[in-house]
């Protein structure tokens, strides 16, 4: 079999493309503004085609979802019934916690939280990456006042924060991402811990910041701490404590937390138009 000779031209082209790719990666990692603008401009140009395709494909996707998740929904239903009965058991505790939350809000001067300017946005797409499922896309962007780092809530509480907003759409980084940190406060205590995502379908975890002596209880609500360096406004419910594990080596309590915000089958979310003081804090906060 005769092996054709490859010209140096193809190697040269490859070398140029690889150099371009590495340059792009480097520039993007440094937050090079023109590249971000190029991304926004290109996605804006493609968006009308996506909108047309969306009207065609959405019914197909919905049909697929109902077919493939029928079994899952049934299991979810059973799980929810179990959780409901557990929650009823903790009703007294929770009622107390809600009162404590209201008191805490007053204490932290967060009475006007409800008056915080918000915007409702439709969830337009799930993650388009197999490797990073902790992202959703919403149909509002900088044109609607959305900025990097703003908190996003759904029914029940905080679900994530805005990442890389475009003109008419934005990405939301979900709190289930193991690389996301949220400063949280157990209602009724002054203990601030760092909450991390546990992955898709997994509970959240507070691994640091809660000393053994802290009076936290199962069923207590965790809220955003609203501390000075936090990109999230304070007082938003994040989750309820499911389990408390005592780490005797570090003398800390590790909390397993069920998110209160709806994270699955989202159709609409609310963006809190709260500009964090330090919006460059990446995934930490």
């Amino acid at each position: 079999m005769a092996v054709p000779q490859r010209s140096s031209g193809s190697r040269f082209t490859l070398a140029i493309l690889l150099l371009t790719s590495v340059t792009l990666i480097s520039l993007d990692a440094r937050g090079y503004e023109p590249l971000a603008n190029l991304r926004k401009a290109t996605t804006t140009v493609i968006q009308p085609f996506r909108n047309i395709a969306s009207t065609v494909f959405d019914p197909i996707a919905d049909a697929w979802e109902s077919l493939s998740e029928g079994d899952t929904l049934e299991k979810e239903n059973i799980l929810l019934r179990e959780q409901l009965s557990e929650l009823l058991e903790y009703r007294v505790t929770t009622e107390g916690a809600v009162e404590e939350l209201a008191a805490l809000r007053t204490q932290l001067d967060l009475e006007n939280l409800g008056g915080q300017e918000t915007i409702v946005a439709e969830v337009t797409a799930r993650s388009v990456s197999n490797f990073d499922p902790y992202v959703i896309e919403i149909g509002k962007g900088t044109q609607s006042g959305i900025r990097e780092g703003m908190a996003v809530v759904s029914v029940g509480g905080l679900i994530g924060r805005i990442e890389d907003p475009g003109l008419r759409n934005s990405r939301v980084r979900l709190i289930t991402d193991p690389n996301v940190n949220v400063g949280v406060l157990a209602v009724g205590t002054n203990e601030i811990g760092i909450l991390n995502g546990g992955g898709v379908g997994q509970p959240l975890k507070v691994m640091d910041g809660i000393p053994v002596s802290a009076q936290v209880e199962i069923g207590s609500i965790m809220v955003t701490s609203g501390s000075e360096r936090s990109p999230y406004p304070g007082g938003f419910a994040v989750g309820t404590i499911l389990e408390i594990v005592v780490d005797e080596i570090n003398l800390e309590k590790e909390l397993i937390v069920a998110p209160t915000g709806q994270l699955e089958n989202l159709e609409f979310v609310t963006v809190i138009l709260y500009q964090p003081i330090n919006s460059d804090s990446g995934r930490n906060g």
Partner: protein, 178 residues
């Protein structure tokens, strides 16, 4: 590339991108969707050769990069390499190879592309790429994308050649590369 070929390539890549974003992102098996743009890079390498494969791979990777949280250029880098590699392989093997062989080689190319993407991602410390679902993504993602390989080859053949599917053998009109 002639103007007609560029127009065809742009149309195909745009259609595939929109299908990936609007249809396949929702139609998942075991939570995994097909990597259509990577499949396009593989098929373009096969039909266009090393240079065209690298260029098409770069563009398809760049397009999908616009929608990923990973840095722009990571998919472009990976897909350009895979397109180039498939171009070289297609030159080395007999042109009248059975379609099943072509499909298997394409499938290997896709899996290699996924591994390379994660490897490069890890090298630049991009979070979330290597996770406990990596094996599942390789197997399910590879096979799921594999279902679309015949269609992708058909499209890339349309881009790079005249239609010449006359029998169940691969088309014979691959351009000669010097």
């Amino acid at each position: 590339m002639t103007f007609l070929r560029v127009a065809k390539a742009a149309t195909v890549l745009l259609v595939l991108l929109i299908l990936q974003l609007e249809l396949f992102a929702s139609i998942r098996f075991f939570g995994v969707m097909p990597e259509i743009m990577l499949g396009a890079a593989v098929a373009s390498g096969w039909h266009g050769g090393a240079t065209e494969g690298a260029v098409m791979g770069f563009i398809s990777g760049f397009l999908i990069d616009l929608y990923l949280a990973s840095p722009i250029g990571l998919s472009a880098l990976t897909y350009a390499l895979i397109g180039y590699l498939l171009g070289i392989i297609s030159e080395l093997i007999a042109e009248d190879v059975e379609r099943i062989v072509r499909t298997v080689i394409s499938l290997i190319g896709i899996v290699l592309g996924l591994v390379t993407f994660v490897l490069f991602g890890e090298l630049i410390a991009e979070p979330n790429l290597y996770n406990k679902n990596f094996g599942k993504i390789l197997v399910v993602g590879g096979l799921y994308t594999g279902l679309f390989i015949p269609v992708l080859h058909f499209l890339m053949e349309w881009v790079f050649h005249q239609s010449n599917f006359r029998n169940n053998q691969i088309a014979m009109a691959r351009p000669q590369r010097n």
